[in-house]
Symmetry: C2
Subunit: 261 residues, 2 copies
Amino acid sequence: MLKKGIPRHSQISQWLRSQIEDGVFEAEEKLPSENDLAKKFDVSRVTIRRALQSLESEEIIYRCQGLGSFVSDKRTPHNLVRLTDFNEDMAKAGLNASSEVHEFKIIDAPSWLLPPLQLDEGTKVMQVDRLRMADGSPVAFDSTWLPILYGQLLSLEKLKSSTIYKILEEEYDISVIRGTYRFTADIADKSLASELKVDEGSPLLMIERSTYTIGNKPVYFQRRYYRTDKVTYEMTLERPQEDNGDYPELPMKEFIPVFNR
Amino acid sequence: MLKKGIPRHSQISQWLRSQIEDGVFEAEEKLPSENDLAKKFDVSRVTIRRALQSLESEEIIYRCQGLGSFVSDKRTPHNLVRLTDFNEDMAKAGLNASSEVHEFKIIDAPSWLLPPLQLDEGTKVMQVDRLRMADGSPVAFDSTWLPILYGQLLSLEKLKSSTIYKILEEEYDISVIRGTYRFTADIADKSLASELKVDEGSPLLMIERSTYTIGNKPVYFQRRYYRTDKVTYEMTLERPQEDNGDYPELPMKEFIPVFNR
DNA sequence: CAATTTAACTTGTATTAACATGTATTGATA
DNA sequence: TATCAATACATGTTAATACAAGTTAAATTG
């Protein structure tokens, strides 16, 4: 049942993770007892506990002495934030996402783009402008700049049905390891106003995103303008309930505002 | 050395936490080996490992087989986001924070405020308007509304030297358990423009914050406008390096955009 | 002297064993 | 009937032990 070469506790926690993911064990459902699991996998109870501990620290399950282990209700592993994708975000919100590619060209990198993409002067970059729509009406407009190295992997065809993130990850195995988001506000100039169908001078929520792959290599730099009447970014921070006394005064969560001078 | 009644592994992990916090073990410094710690506390190595495991899952330390355990460089436990405080944010950025209370009054709650504060029509609320400054120049302007229950605990005096968060937590033991942040953009009207010393129509980053105490009771609702030339909110999301195979495809971090219709 | 082997030390994995503590049910007792 | 004690079973704590595997440096070898 268990492969060799991979720690058993990892395999067991992985098995449980996928079982929970697949809905075999539903939310709030009681898992088999540690002894039962130990028998099932023919390992010691300690190994089972090691596996359950992983799931507990990921807040996928919670355990009650005397009662058993239960699947957490939270759909996403708490405290974990995923690097999200426009289409994915929209799908989660139950909206029909679509996008139009309005620009797909190679340009000389403007000077302000050199530092974020770690490029030298005179280098060319790929620029992709897209209008993002939810249920057919414009929600956001973004420009993305990529070093030619990565930009050449894209095509108009693919961009229509997929996202840059997915194309690079799934087709070329270039995965984004790190991403930095910057939130700021801007006002719609003539061009943005007409793209997003808002009045010139309207406030727009701007999110700049820098993404990096292994070795801190920049993959792309993106500026996205959201219609404020359409999108608000929201984030809930929760202070962990005083569980076991492990956190006496406790860590909550961090959110770093950067002050420009 | 160890008290009874409290699990030894908890006491040991707590001791290590505070030693690290106090700088006894600095960033990237190697901790004593598991065997050394076991001898020091006269416990088994398993107990030490249990303690280190807690610190590891909190990302306070990391461990390398064959090398030892090391203190993580990250100042704040990773993946944990703290509910922050304006003064604290500024201090961290090395700026001198100050604020002027421009309004401190009791008003009839406007209708749009009723749902977020879970109040009935006709209720009165406390409103506090403050201009926030960094090194003497205006950075943000916020209005905070509190149910009278909590508002009455504040005073002009205290607000000058402290923050609402601190006053309620430290003096009245009312601690904020949960907070929701919403990011959006707005433009400066005449009043905001003159407060923040920007042109009318300038873009401002607006952050709405709802905070709750135990039992999901709203403590206050706040609207803060940041000068975009002064402040950008930034957030870095990192995908955990494939450590042990525990996370095969996955979990990064979550950041929820809310789509208004 | 350089390359290799060995030894010592580190954390990682896993078992067996015992006892502590919390929860719920069952059955005897007042 | 209501209460309490016994019991079974859950997770929690901890020890003692063994071996695996990664790292480093010293010792050995060519």
